[in-house]
Amino acid sequence: MTWDWGAVADFMPKFWDGLLLTLQILALGSLISFALGLVWALLMRTPSRLVRWPVGAVTEFIRNTPLLVQLFFLFYVLPEWGVTASALTTGVFAIGLHYSTYTMQVYRAGIEAVPAGQWEAATALNLPVTRTWRVVILPQAIRRVVPALGNYVIAMLKDTPILMTITVMEMLGEARLFAQQNFQFTEPLTVIGVAFILIAYPASLLVRALERRLVR
């Protein structure tokens, strides 16, 4: 086994570009998944079965099929339907949509964990539905789900390399390009592998600390 520090040094500028893009994808994907997940969770609470059933079926479908194939679907099929978006936009949307079907379950659990007395108090105070949700239920529900959402952000981080397959130059994309240009696979791939551990492990410690503080 040979290890070439020169190759590591050559790769580092590319690595920082890739890291920056990975973090951007992660931030945007998280925002989409938090927002969409909340929308799904709220739709699943509507009284009408005509809303609940399709939302439940679609999210179940998205959750149980591979992100990679969904990504290809969006990347190749949407242009056929006349919707054009850059690879990065498609990728961010795909990852956000995929994870929204997970965060939806997190929100659901958080909403269900709000004590029934809170609902009854809102009814007793004659609060309108939107106000009940906005100032009573959601603030309590979201506080409880922050650590669980954090776990999904970490999971999402580990799925960002998939975007490489649709030509997005995040960390793995940069590493592969560098490897193919220089015929040095060991160094760039190991560097990004270590980088993922160095980001994911402290992040998971942070989530655990949050869990202790926010969830009683």
Binding site: L67, L68, F73, G193, A200
Partner: protein, 243 residues
């Protein structure tokens, strides 16, 4: 779609299923090995098992696949057949997630059960095999079901390496037909059906395993705590009955 193209898709399903079964076996072995090691009495064993889980949970499955395909041959001279390379990468990664499930379930077994084993002078291995695992395994099944579906989704990643699995066959058909909506819809539906069958199968397994230790499906340990004490059997321990 012509029958030749369908044959491609069928081949893809077969490879995906092979990969799923093999990597699930590797992942199960790793999960139990590492998960049990994390409850070992020597701190060094627990520490090494902890490092393993954090390292493999820390990296992405796709990076592991790249690593096994490109770095292992160069660095160690191990050129694996693609199927085994994929199995190794997926099995090691998802095994690390499974190890956390095993550890959690083992820790959730009532401490009195372990102490009972010590009192009866069982060896550590006998305690694990005869007391802890039979009670912990049924509790692991729902989490393992989720992990198995994640693993199925993970198998699609090997298509990046050009392995002819289901996701890869979709790519070939897309190139052949210059049309992608139809084939990708089919492939997504096929993945969904496989996931559905897996979930159903695992639920049956859970029912059988729980019947073996006298529990009902769908009861979490938390509900178990709040069970109304109608029969003397369940309540005997909590009343401190020395009968």
């Amino acid at each position: 779609m012509t029958s030749g193209l369908w044959e491609l898709v069928l081949n893809g399903i077969w490879i995906t299923v092979q990969l799923l079964v093999l990597s699930a076996l590797v992942a199960t072995a790793v999960a139990f090995g590492v998960g049990m090691a994390r409850t070992h009495r020597l701190w060094i064993v627990r520490f090494l098992a902890g490092v393993y889980t954090e390292v493999f949970r820390g990296t992405s499955a796709l990076i592991m696949i790249f690593w096994v395909f490109f770095v292992l041959p160069v660095a160690f001279g191990w050129q694996l057949v693609p199927l085994w390379a994929g199995t190794l990468a997926l099995g090691l990664t998802y095994g690390a997630y499974g190890a956390e499930i095993v550890r959690g379930a083992l820790n959730a077994v009532d401490p009195a059960q372990r102490e009972g084993g010590i009192a009866l002078s069982f060896t550590p291995w006998q305690r694990m095999r005869l007391i802890l695992l039979p009670q912990a395994v049924p509790e692991m099944i729902p989490s393992f079901t989720n992990l198995l579906v994640e693993l199925l989704k993970g198998t699609a990643l090997v298509s990046v390496m050009g392995m002819g699995d289901l996701a890869f066959s979709a790519n070939l058909v897309r190139l052949a037909l210059q049309e992608s909506a139809e084939i990708y819809t089919y492939v997504l539906v096929i993945y969904f059906v496989i996931a559905f069958l897996l979930t159903r199968g695992m639920r049956g397994l859970e029912r059988r395993l729980k019947a073996g230790v006298g529990k009902q499906i769908g009861r979490t340990p938390d509900q178990e705590l709040h069970r109304p004490e109608t029969t003397g059997v369940g309540a005997a321990g909590s009343l401190g009955g020395a009968s």
